[in-house]
Symmetry: C2
Subunit: 464 residues, 2 copies
């Protein structure tokens, strides 16, 4: 390791040589260069750090926002070795073209998706496809936290299951297909940020991507039951030991999350390691060749490109488990008590209007509304109330039948209602009720959380 | 059977002789007398009809309100045999003293209970006892639909379990204690009408008893697991056959209800046949010698004085399953589509203020609020938000720790919060959030249901 010599000037070409194929690993941030070779074994996020070596940490730190605090900067400074040679800087920084693009191997996508951010890709399902019970693969909403890993044809991909005693079992996707019974369920995935834009509009600014009603989609998933895998690995799944509390999932791109062991082992919980979506192999954006599906829970637990399952007494330590996917009280500012809030698992009852159409009839003109309703935990939607006049009166929508597969109601319900034009007065409202008779809050401000997670206040749309 | 002779006049003393100890059974309604001997085997409610014979059906029909429709009157008229002799009538009716009192053997009760109706007894837990985590037996809220059966010392009481093939197993309470493992859980029971008075005040008139905040209590229950009983009777409890869909419960006083088989057999569902409450044998008002406890579900499914469990493909046909314990939309009048609404099982998230106390301090006067919060399905309460100023600002209450027993959070949480006097402005509001991040609706009118069931709009209380 080179000693810290503040006056040393390093060319970008030299930094690039200290990449993952070299024996010593350099990174830069701004114009400051660090040799992090000795730090790598201590990195809490594991090997993913190797993606950054030989270049800038900044595109990664923009994604892994957990780095953006003083204590991380202090650690990095311990490995300072010099500055980038001014001849290689433009406006004091390495030119963008010199910074490796983590997203360069992302797949091409359907142009119909409503893109919120291209890198990482976050995109809503287009309105027309929200009306179909099964969302087509190409327009299923995309919520990527990082780049899409390129796992080739998936033949080399392995799923490792690590038990509490450290013992491991490893499977290829072909093994999973061959050695375990396949199961198919119909499950809706919903981003915790779905409808966040409504909380911002109805209350105050929220952190995070401003999703409309399209951060939700529904598909048929085929794969093997996590319960079966854990049983084969030796866990007494009907009565796990008290110290086994969580199943942790890690994805090939470095994402991580966990679910309680009760859900992982529930006979009626239907947690899958899925290799097919809508009857075909998963597409790359949706986790090829293997992803977790945790039906009834927030989609953030349905880890894509999964390569490791670990049983543990603790939740995943990832920022997506301990930070991002939590809700706080309306009284809490942007430095809440992170640990006091519980990680989002099951989601609350939700509904939204996806289309408002004027229909010109022979007898009377009408307005037809369509939308979806969904609740977590497999709780079936039993009623959807729609007001054509900003809450003065309510009518019940027709809930459309579906042929969803699974032990519980893991799939959304579509609904439809028609109003005579004369009944309609300015603003439509919609709210749903699930089989536990939970319902949605009326408004946004009293339920404000600065992250805008799990927005579920009544959807309000203007009449045409 | 006597032929119908409209001019026949019958003395009350003669009618009284046609009681359950006789071979032929007469009843009267108003001044009209009926010989219902031939009808008894067809009575949908079973043998309970024998309680009325030899006297008036009216006190029973006031309880079993399902009789109050024309088709029932038409059936009764087929058995008309004459009128009561005018010498025995006062103002055209049999005198009240002549009508048997179904409640005459009801137990004595604590004078602290807030009585809504004495016969059948319906009474709220007094405010001071709502503040204790475990509600004392004597002031646990009472919700009786009928009379309290007098089952002596309980030695003759039997629990019969009827399987799908008609086979039966029968146990005494001593058998249950001796032959099965005892389990203790802490479970809150809540009447579906709890806080109904708030819906009436906040929206419109509702049918049913106008409960305040005291239609809820919490106790430790000890008994045997329904799952264990069903397993012993031969049901494969981990994977019941598809045709077994419900477990039906019947009580000795004629009440009946049912729960889905999934709850009945869930390893973590903790459904008990309880013989102890707070460490002592059940009291008569709470089901002595045996009652069902279905934690996380509406209390109407926790059948008292249970003497029969039946496995079935259908829900209980009782009015309490098919009618009374359902919710309807705000658009539905008093003749709703009864079958379209689902029976209440798990209850939604709920909270209420139980006391508001002014505290005079050395530095500043304060107001301390206490209350409870609870959610169905074993979903833990994770946050209680209280506004001291009618919703302008919110603060989080302290949720008190408890040592509830059971696989899930079946018990209420108590909470407490103090406001400086200057923060307080007119109206306090409270709302809770459970671990599925479901919350309570803001208001009442949009969630109005004419039965006033499952009222869960924010509790609003005036500041002192």
């Amino acid at each position: 390791m080179d000693a810290a010599t503040p006056d040393r000037r390093l060319r970008l070409s030299e930094i690039h040589e200290h990449n993952r194929d070299s024996g010593s690993y350099w990174v830069y941030r701004g114009d400051r260069v660090y040799d992090i070779t000795d730090w790598i074994p201590s990195h809490p996020g594991g090997d993913v750090i190797l993606r950054a070596v030989g270049g800038s940490v900044e595109p990664y730190w923009n994604i892994f926002s957990i780095h953006q605090k003083q204590e991380v900067l202090d650690i990095l400074e311990q490995y300072f070795i010099g500055k980038i040679d001014p001849r290689d800087l433009v406006d004091g920084r390495a030119p963008a073209g010199q910074i490796d693009d983590p997203f360069k191997s992302d797949p091409e996508r359907d142009v119909g998706l409503k893109v919120l951010t291209p890198r990482p890709c976050n995109a809503e399902t287009p309105t027309r496809d929200l009306a179909s019970f099964i969302t087509p693969d190409r327009t299923f909403y995309v919520r990527n936290h990082l780049w899409v890993p390129d796992l080739g044809k998936g033949e080399k991909h392995r799923l490792t299951i690590e038990m509490m005693d450290g013992s491991e079992v490893e499977y290829s996707v072909a093994d999973l297909r061959d050695k375990f019974t396949a199961h198919t369920i119909t499950a809706t995935l919903q981003c915790s940020g779905n409808r966040r834009a409504h909380m911002t509009a109805g209350a105050r600014q929220t952190n995070g991507l401003q999703w409309g009603v399209g951060g939700i989609s529904n598909a048929e998933w085929t794969g093997v039951l996590l319960r079966d895998l854990l049983a084969a690995a030796g866990l007494p799944v009907d009565d796990p030991p008290d110290d086994v509390k969580h199943a942790l999932f890690a994805g090939a791109e470095a994402y991580g999350a966990s679910i309680p062991i009760e859900k992982a082992t529930d006979r009626r919980g239907d947690v899958l390691l899925a290799y097919e979506m809508n009857g075909k192999p998963l597409s790359r954006d949706h986790g090829f060749p293997l992803r977790v599906i945790v039906p009834g829970h927030v989609a953030a637990r349905s880890v894509k490109w999964v390569n490791k399952i670990t049983l543990s007494g603790e939740e995943s330590t990832s920022q997506w488990q301990r930070r991002d996917y939590k809700c706080f009280g309306p009284n809490e500012g942007k430095s809440p008590d992170w640990d006091a809030a519980v990680s989002i698992q099951e989601v609350p009852v939700q509904s939204a209007v996806t289309s408002v159409d004027e229909v010109y009839g022979l007898e009377e003109d009408a307005v037809v509304l369509q939308g979806y309703a969904f609740s977590g935990g497999g709780r079936r939607i039993v009623r959807v109330d729609v007001s054509p006049d900003n809450g003065k009166t309510w009518q019940q929508a027709q809930i459309l039948e579906n042929d969803a597969k699974g032990h519980k109601a893991w799939a959304w319900s579509h609904w439809r209602i028609a109003f005579a034009k004369h009944e309609v007065d300015k603003v439509f409202l919609v709210k749903a009720v699930d089989e536990s008779y939970n319902t949605q809050p009326d408004s946004f401000e009293p339920h404000y959380n600065f992250k805008g997670n799990l927005t579920s206040g009544w959807h309000r749309v203007s009449a045409p």
